[in-house]
C-alpha cells in the first residue's frame, strides 16, 4: 500500500532528518487491512533509525506527538484502529514549546 509519511517538530531527526517518506507497506499474509497499530510498528522497524523511544511508547506514539491522517487528528478516525487506504498521508508532529 502506497503511503506518504511525514515527520515534523523534530521527529524527523529520528529518521535521518528526512521529513517526507513515500513508502510501500506490504500487508502480511492473512491481513486484509492496514491499521495505524500495524503501521506504527512497521514505521518503528523500517523508518525510525535512532531513539525509537522518542517516537513510541507501548504500542502507540509517545505523549506529545500529534498524529494526523489526511490532515485530521487520528482521534477523529479511531486512533490505533484507524484503517488506512491507498495514497493516505500520515503526519507525525512533535508538539513545540519554544518561543
Amino acid at each position: 500500500m502506497q503511503l506518504t509519511l511525514e515527520f515534523g517538530g523534530g521527529l524527523e531527526l529520528l529518521c535521518q532528518s528526512v521529513k517526507i517518506h513515500n513508502v510501500d507497506v506490504v500487508l502480511q499474509a492473512g491481513e486484509t487491512k492496514l491499521t495505524m497499530r500495524v503501521l506504527l510498528s512497521w514505521i518503528r522497524t523500517n523508518v525510525i533509525k535512532e531513539r525509537p523511544e522518542m517516537f513510541m511508547k507501548g504500542d502507540s506514539v509517545r505523549p506529545g506527538v500529534l498524529v494526523l491522517v489526511n490532515d485530521c487528528d487520528w482521534e477523529l478516525s479511531g486512533q490505533l484502529d484507524t484503517t488506512l487506504e491507498e495514497k493516505d498521508v500520515v503526519v507525525f508532529i512533535s508538539t513545540l514549546h519554544g518561543g
Binding site: K19, R62, G64, C72, T95, G98, G99
Partner: protein, 493 residues
C-alpha cells in the same frame, strides 16, 4: 482678374455670415448653461435642507473619534471588519504572556491595531543574544527611521515595525522595554506592565482582568498552567510555539474546541522538550507565528471570521509550507475541561506544574550532577593544566555545528551521539599525546571532556568510565564556565 475678385468678396461675406451665426449659437449655449447651473444649485440646497447632518455628529454616532477614524481607517474600510470590528477591538483587553520571540511581534501589532487594554507578563531581562529574534535590532534601524517619517507625517495605522527590544534597553526588564515600544506606536492603548513570572499564585488574578490570553511562552509547564487557568476562568487562549524552522498555532478553549490538556493529556518526556536557546531558532519564524497570534486574538476580540479553534496551523519555514489540520473537539475525559472535571481555582493554585511536566517553569538551563567531584575538574583547574603543559587530550562532545561556532585550542570534536563508535580515536589520541610528551604508554596523558554547559560532558564521562577509560574527567560548567572564570574574551552563545 475681376471675376476672381468678385468670387473672393463673395466668400468673405459668407464667412462673416457664418461667424455671426456661430457667435449667436455660442451665446445661446452659455445662457442655457447658466440656467442649468441655477437649477442644479437649487436642487442641492433642497436635498440638503431635507436631511441636515452636522459634521460633528458623525463621530459620536459610531463611537469613534475623528482621530480614531483617521488612525484605523484601513480597518474601517474593510467591509467584513469595519466600524463594528474596530469598536469591539477598542473595548477589548488582551494579555500577552511572554515578551520574547513570539510575544514581541504580537504586542506590536496588538498595540498598533487599537486594542483597548494590553497586558504584558514577563520576568526576563533583555539580553543581546535574543535581540535578533525579538527584533531585527541594528539591521532594521534604517528602516525604522524611514518608517518613522511616515508616522510623523500622519498617525495612520500601517506602521510595520518589527523592533521591540532595542539596544538601549539591554539589561532592563523585557516588560519595560516592550511597554515603551507599544506606547511609542500607539499612545492611546492602555498598556499594563506585569513584571513578574506567571505562577499558580498570581495567574488567576492577572488573567482574570483580560478577555483573551495569548500564550507566547517558551516552556512546557507554563503552557499547561496557562491553558488550565484559561479553562478555570473561561477565557479563549491563542497559543503559538516556534522552534528551529517550524511553528505551530492554535486557539484553545474557545467555541467548543479543545484545551491544551484535551490534546496532550500526558506531558511528553523532558528529553523531547527542546528549547530555542539549545536547538536554535530562525528569528523570523517566531516572528511569523507571533504575528498570526496577534491576528487570531484580533479575530476573537472583534468577532470577525473563523477563529483557529479545533484546528492547528503548522508552519514549515524551510519548505515554505503551511498546513491547517483538523483537531479533535473538547475531550469528555479531559481532566481540566471534561464532563466530570473538577478543576477548580483552588486545585489550580495547588497544582505543581513543574513536577507534572518534570521541567522548570522558567527556561533556565539544566544543571546535572552525575559525577563525584573526583571525576570532575573546574575550568580554572583545567587552565592550570594547560599552562603547566600537562600531557592531555581534551574531547569536546558538542555537536559539530556548535564546535564550528567556537572551540578551545587543540580540542578533539567527538559529538556525544557518535562517542560510542569513536573510542579507538580517543585511545589513539591519548597514545599520540603520551609519545609526544615522552610518557610511558598508559601511564600519563589525562583525558578531559568538555561541552557547552557541563551536562553532556558528564554523560560522556559516565560512558567513558563504563567503557574502561576510568581516568576521564569533565570540565565543570563547560565552555560557559571557561568564558566566565578564565577567559572573558571567549565567545558565548
Amino acid at each position: 482678374m475681376e471675376s476672381n475678385g468678385g468670387e473672393a468678396s463673395r466668400l468673405l461675406r459668407e464667412i462673416d455670415t457664418l461667424k455671426a451665426a456661430k457667435s449667436d449659437i455660442e451665446h445661446r449655449i452659455s445662457i442655457l448653461q447658466s440656467q442649468l447651473g441655477e437649477i442644479v444649485d437649487k436642487e442641492e440646497t433642497l436635498s440638503s435642507s431635507c436631511s441636515p447632518v452636522p459634521i460633528n455628529d458623525s463621530g459620536v454616532r459610531n463611537g469613534l473619534s475623528p482621530e480614531m477614524i483617521y488612525r484605523y481607517s484601513r480597518h474601517l474600510l474593510l467591509p467584513s471588519f469595519g466600524v463594528q470590528g474596530q469598536s469591539k477591538l477598542l473595548k477589548s483587553s488582551i494579555l500577552v504572556v511572554g515578551a520574547g520571540g513570539l510575544g514581541s511581534p504580537a504586542l506590536l501589532y496588538l498595540s498598533a491595531c487599537g486594542i483597548g487594554r494590553l497586558g504584558i507578563v514577563d520576568h526576563d531581562i533583555v539580553e543581546l543574544n535574543n535581540l535578533h529574534q525579538q527584533s531585527k535590532a541594528s539591521m532594521n534601524r534604517i528602516d525604522l527611521i524611514i518608517q518613522s517619517d511616515k508616522l510623523i507625517s500622519g498617525l495612520n495605522y500601517g506602521f510595520d515595525a518589527l523592533i521591540i527590544h532595542t539596544e538601549a534597553y539591554i539589561s532592563q526588564s523585557k516588560v519595560t522595554s516592550a511597554a515603551a515600544a507599544c506606547r511609542a506606536i500607539n499612545s492611546t492603548v492602555q498598556i499594563v506592565e506585569h513584571k513578574e513570572a506567571l505562577r499558580t499564585s498570581n495567574a488567576l488574578e492577572i488573567m482574570n482582568e483580560y478577555d483573551i490570553v495569548v500564550d507566547a511562552t517558551d516552556n512546557l509547564p507554563s503552557r499547561y498552567m496557562i491553558s488550565d487557568c484559561c479553562v478555570v476562568l473561561g477565557k479563549p487562549l491563542v497559543s503559538g510555539a516556534a522552534l528551529g524552522l517550524e511553528g505551530q498555532l492554535t486557539v484553545y478553549n474557545h467555541n467548543g474546541g479543545p484545551c491544551y490538556r484535551c490534546l496532550f493529556p500526558t506531558p511528553p518526556p523532558t528529553s523531547a522538550c527542546q528549547r530555542c536557546s539549545d536547538s536554535g531558532v530562525l528569528g523570523v519564524v517566531p516572528g511569523v507565528i507571533g504575528c498570526l497570534q496577534a491576528l487570531e486574538a484580533i479575530k476573537i476580540a472583534s468577532a470577525a471570521g473563523e477563529p483557529l479553534s479545533g484546528r492547528m496551523l503548522l508552519f514549515d519555514a524551510l519548505s515554505a509550507r503551511i498546513r491547517v489540520v483538523k483537531l479533535r473537539g473538547r475531550s469528555l475525559q479531559c481532566e481540566a475541561c471534561g464532563e466530570n472535571a473538577a478543576f477548580t481555582k483552588q486545585l489550580f493554585r495547588e497544582f505543581d506544574y513543574e513536577k507534572f511536566t518534570e521541567s522548570p517553569l522558567s527556561a533556565s538551563p539544566l544543571k546535572l550532577n552525575l559525577l563525584p567531584r573526583s571525576a570532575r575538574i573546574s575550568s580554572k583547574e583545567y587552565k592550570e593544566k594547560v599552562v603547566n603543559g600537562e600531557a592531555h587530550v581534551l574531547v569536546d562532545v558538542r555537536p559539530e555545528h556548535h564546535f564550528k561556532i567556537v572551540s578551545l585550542p587543540k580540542s578533539l570534536n567527538i559529538p556525544l551521539s557518535s562517542l560510542e563508535g569513536k573510542l579507538l580515536e580517543i585511545s589513539s589520541a591519548l597514545k599520540g599525546e603520551e609519545q609526544r610528551s615522552g610518557l610511558v604508554s598508559g601511564s600519563g596523558a589525562s583525558l578531559y571532556v568538555v561541552c557547552r554547559r557541563g551536562n553532556d560532558s558528564q554523560r560522556a564521562v559516565q560512558y567513558l568510565h563504563k567503557m574502561g577509560l576510568t581516568s576521564a574527567q569533565d570540565v565543570i560548567g563547560g565552555l560557559e564556565s571557561w568564558a566566565h572564570d578564565v577567559d572573558p574574551n571567549f565567545p558565548t552563545y
